[in-house]
Symmetry: C2
Subunit: 353 residues, 2 copies
């Protein structure tokens, strides 16, 4: 099988980590019978400055017609609003209907407080519809934004969360050591204030997870503020967390803090038969060009993309190579307290593949 | 001076901690020349069930006409939406124009990682305007909520944050040991996605803090997801954090997790010449009636209320008595790993006053 993968480095350290993602895919053993073709694509602030579009139509068109998946690096946001610029990754999620943002956060073997959770974030609506307006009043400007929550999107994201909980349980049952007893989905919302929008998310998620195929999955709820509190007080308790777009954004950064660095946390933007792997970190202009960015979030994002393209065996090999590097702990990038260069971390992980 | 204080216990452990707040005020030394009159007021889910109103008009009227301040306990939210019920504290904040929610989070002396920050949360708008609607589409229900950000509210909350930063610096300069070098305000927003609403919050806060009276205050920004990450990775770096309503809600629970328990964290809802002290924790129905709730958040909230009523000396005495209890660490409630009853913690703190 040949997979055609779009590569969208974006800005800053995106340009340093996406090549690492390509290399690990190329280094997968031939015995898997997997081949890759790569297509370089543009997006980001630099692209905006050069072409006037942060997400050129061509990039979207090629992803749609020619690609099975993609790797997206990171993009810089201008420090003050720039007319016509808006985040290309947010646009891409909507244009390709990549309705789920899946962010696994797992501590490395031997951690004092092991955690192993995945945040399943709705990826197309909520405040990310970006419908805003500004008007003048006698007391100054007022701006409004729409937070939109639909039954359709809430249902499919909760279903995805249920499927992921079942899949994780299957892997655990197959003997992988685990801190969890059974599959659990925690629905996060703020329906005590937003009774209609978050209320709809909550009740729809409840309904979706009441389907008989999820009968083995325990379902509970946490109000988002309390979820952040619990995330830090008892992170080991959580298995799958499902949340509307914005809470998912916030929770996944919080969870990343628990495992020591955003540089470790991957994500996949997932739609029907298509997935974009994307490290959770940003473009980090402060460290770009120094060969010190942590490539691990991208390597894991490549693996996560493969999982959603049904190449679980290939994914497992990448995860194992990354874990071996982290467990040994000799070649770590500076965000993890190490001194290794990006290139040294990559070489070490490729060697272990 | 006689201060008239409304007491609104609400539901659950609110009924156990608000009496503690009353007792500490009554126990303040006569030499301060402060007298208190207390007025018992109703609000909450139980009140809703009994009277049909979660926040009776009478409660609002008496607070407005007869009180200098108040203590609010906590209220229970129904587990599924109940027609006609909506959070009384959210309503109270708006009806009394208590535009700032001030939440100091401080570790006790000797903590391995000392932190000392205050979250200044806008308290009247954002998604808390609760303007929602639901409509049907061929693909199911869709619900929308308005997020509203005004220049007026953003400006006054940023100004409040600046004033608090200056006041904290003054106390530090007077010799209080501190982890901070100078006053710092961190503006939190998500203007990379919400360019108009959060963009307005950001630019207005910047403008307000550029006033010459804040020339000694350093100002920086954090995107909300990154703020949660940093809150956990380097909490010692933050002094005053200013945020729109919802982010402030989430950040203050996150910060509470850092000091070990929500049971320690106070808040004050502050308007012009009026303040309501309110512990950050909820009504905790699971532990009510057991005399194990931590009263400290309420005692500190009483002190915080006094600060905003310009009774800083009285406030300082309460803070010191609470800190002495925590530093000794012998009579701690179960949320802090201790075995003391609510009543024992209160007695110990009163003894130290
Ligand atoms: C860069 C930004 C628009 C984006 C988001 O908010 O989704 C990022 O924070 C993320 O989590 O991927
Ligand atoms: C109970 C709830 C409505 C409230 C809020 O969201 O403001 C609470 O979380 C708080 O922080 O005081």
């Amino acid at each position: 099988r040949t997979l055609r993968i779009g590569l969208i480095p974006g800005d800053g350290i995106g340009k340093e980590v996406i090549p690492a993602g390509r290399r690990i895919l190329e280094a997968l053993p031939a015995s898997l019978g997997l081949k890759f073709e790569f297509i370089n694509l543009r997006a980001g602030f630099e692209t905006f400055e050069q072409t006037g579009a942060a997400l050129p139509d061509e990039t979207v068109a090629i992803l749609k017609s020619d690609c099975d998946g993609a790797l997206f690096g990171a993009v810089s946001s201008p420090s003050t609003a720039v007319k016509g610029y808006s985040s290309p990754i947010v646009a891409l999620r909507k244009k390709l209907d990549l309705y789920a943002n899946v962010r696994p956060v797992k501590s490395v073997g031997g951690a004092a407080n092991p955690i192993d959770m995945v945040i399943v974030r709705e990826n197309t609506e909520d405040l990310y519809v970006k419908e805003e307006r500004t008007y003048d009043t006698p007391e100054g400007k007022v701006a409004e934004a729409i937070k939109r929550i639909s039954q359709r999107a809430s249902s499919r994201i909760a279903t995805m969360a249920g499927e992921i909980a079942l899949r994780r349980q299957k892997i655990r049952a197959a003997g992988a050591p685990s801190i969890h007893k059974g599959p659990l989905v925690t629905i996060t919302h703020k329906s005590n204030v937003l009774s209609q929008t978050d209320g709809l998310f909550r009740s729809t998620a409840r309904d979706a997870l009441a389907a008989s195929r999820f009968s083995s999955v325990a379902v509970e709820e946490q109000i988002v503020d309390s979820m952040v509190y619990k995330l830090f007080r008892q992170p080991e308790a959580y298995d799958v967390i499902v949340a509307p777009n914005l809470y998912g954004d916030i929770l996944s950064d919080g969870a990343a803090a628990l495992v020591g660095s955003l540089g470790l946390v991957p994500s996949a933007n997932v739609g029907e038969g298509f997935a974009i792997g994307e490290p959770c970190h940003g473009s980090a202009p402060d460290i770009m060009g120094q060969d010190i960015a942590n490539p691990i979030a991208t390597l894991r994002s490549a693996a996560l993309m493969l999982e959603f393209l049904n190449e679980e065996e290939a994914a497992a090999l990448i995860y194992a190579a990354v874990d071996a590097n982290l467990e040994e702990g000799k070649l770590l990038s500076p965000d993890l307290g190490g001194k290794a260069k990006t290139s040294e971390v990559i070489e070490d992980i490729l060697r272990r593949l």
